[in-house]
């Protein structure tokens, strides 16, 4: 019996319980709160699975940003006369149970896994320019996937901005005149920016990297936005557009710099991999932060909803 198995069993049971509570509770607000708890439990699960990068990203993005986004949405979508959805789905439930049985059978009965790419990766790490494996995979060996990801992010940012209502002033949230909140923002804001820069720099040799740094910056921006502080750089304009596409453009330039010196696409010049990765990561985290932040703030503002509940 593995020594940590009891803890892992508890974590898995808590995951399933919080997910069920999030999805099946009657009150939508309670469901979203359970979803935030689910995100934090997932971060614990990643720590148990020895993936600290994933734990950082899950806590910042899934529990933090997604939770804030959904809480914001629940506040606007509140419909007190919510129809009773207690129709028990027999057909879907039965089919889901069959699918669950098949998945469990597949997971438990899998053949011996080969070591995968770990040994090839360990051999290639000296040429990667960084000393942390996940960063090396993300920004050097599988940089094509990361490039596609930043393209997806830029695409969603532009769709989100296109869906903004025509009244283009930033949301005038009521100024919450709370001295505790003011002090908290004054202290937390700079600390979050500092920690995000540290995460970006530390990603080369420890868990961290562009995504976690970008998510933390976006979280700082969301905190400011929800406290009523207007963020002038989020107005649609040249500055916003430049920030959004900077990550994509820098990555593209780094990718096509290979063919100019006779190497394949997405291959960095020998010896320059380290600095190239740092430069890409800086612009990538800036782009990710602005993208996630503008997706958050692009929703229709309070008061324009047709059925505000209060």
């Amino acid at each position: 019996m593995h020594p940590g198995l009891a803890l892992d069993g508890l974590v898995v049971m808590a995951l399933v319980a919080s997910a069920s509570a999030a999805l099946l509770s009657r009150d939508l607000f309670r469901g979203v709160v359970f979803f935030i708890a689910f995100g934090l439990l997932m971060a614990i699960a990643w720590v148990r699975l020895e993936s600290p990068d994933l734990a950082l990203a899950e806590a910042a993005i899934s529990a933090g940003l997604t939770g804030a986004l959904l809480l914001d949405a629940v506040g606007q979508l509140r419909d007190p006369n919510q129809p009773d959805e207690r129709v028990w789905p027999w057909v879907e439930g039965g089919l889901s149970l069959c699918l669950l049985a098949m998945l469990c059978w597949a997971i438990l009965g899998r053949p011996e896994l080969d070591p995968g790419l770990t040994q090839a990766l360990a051999r290639a790490m000296e040429t990667s320019g960084v000393s942390h494996e996940v960063t090396a995979v993300l920004l050097n060996f599988r940089s094509y996937d990361t490039f596609l990801e930043i393209s997806v992010l830029v695409g969603t940012a532009f769709i989100g901005l296109a869906l903004q209502p025509l009244r283009s002033e930033s949301r005038l949230l009521q100024q919450i005149s709370n001295p505790l909140l003011d002090v908290l923002i004054a202290w937390l804001g700079p600390v979050m920016v500092m920690v995000s820069v540290y995460l970006l720099w530390a990603g080369t040799s420890q868990p961290g990297g562009a995504f976690q740094a970008g998510a933390l910056l976006a979280a700082a921006g969301v905190l400011l936005h929800l406290s009523g502080v207007t963020l002038p750089f989020l107005k649609p304009g040249l500055g916003l557009r430049l920030c959004l596409i900077s990550g994509y453009v820098v990555f593209l330039l780094a990718a096509v710099s290979g063919p100019f010196i006779g190497l394949p696409l997405f291959t960095y010049a020998p010896g320059t991999a380290g600095p190239t990765i740092i430069i890409i990561e800086v612009f990538l985290s800036l782009s990710i932060a602005i993208t996630l932040l503008s997706l958050f703030t692009a929703a229709p503002p309070t008061g324009m909803e047709r059925n505000h509940g209060a």
């Binding site: 995951l15 997910a19 993936s51 896994l113 790419l117 599988r142 989100g160 209502p165 990297g209």
Partner: protein
């Protein structure tokens, strides 16, 4: 049983629960929540299927990291679309109106239906 397999099985549970709710419940925000739970389940399966006690494989970790960020972007866009839909139509589902007609709220110019039992529901015109 190795702990990683336990997490993979938990991931399978999460995926199936999310899938069932996504298909069965018509409210759009619950579908978005279910989508996120499904994504979490798949990530757990991806990272959980590895040799017990071996060095953690960085390649699935990189894939899942990408997946977490893209899942958030998709969720944000979905919530944005949902709020625009709510702003335009007044409903949070895609079901046709008559299914929830007795709860539908009307604007100033619309014809009100027969009076409801609870008097406070249609009061904000």
């Amino acid at each position: 049983m190795a702990p990683e397999t336990l997490y993979a099985l938990g991931g399978a549970f999460l995926f199936v629960i999310g899938l069932c709710v996504m298909v069965a419940i018509p409210h759009l925000l619950r579908k978005i929540l279910a989508f996120n739970v499904m994504a979490g389940g798949i990530f757990l399966i991806l990272v959980g299927l590895r040799e017990a006690g071996e060095f953690p494989d960085p390649v699935p970790q990189a894939l899942v990291l990408t997946g977490i960020v893209v899942a958030f972007a998709s969720t944000a866009l979905a919530v944005l679309l949902l709020r625009r839909w709510f702003h335009v139509s007044g409903r949070a589902t895609l079901e046709p109106e008559h299914a929830y007609a007795h709860h539908y709220r009307y604007g100033p110019g619309d014809k009100k239906p027969e009076p409801e039992r609870d008097a406070d529901s249609g009061s904000d015109a």
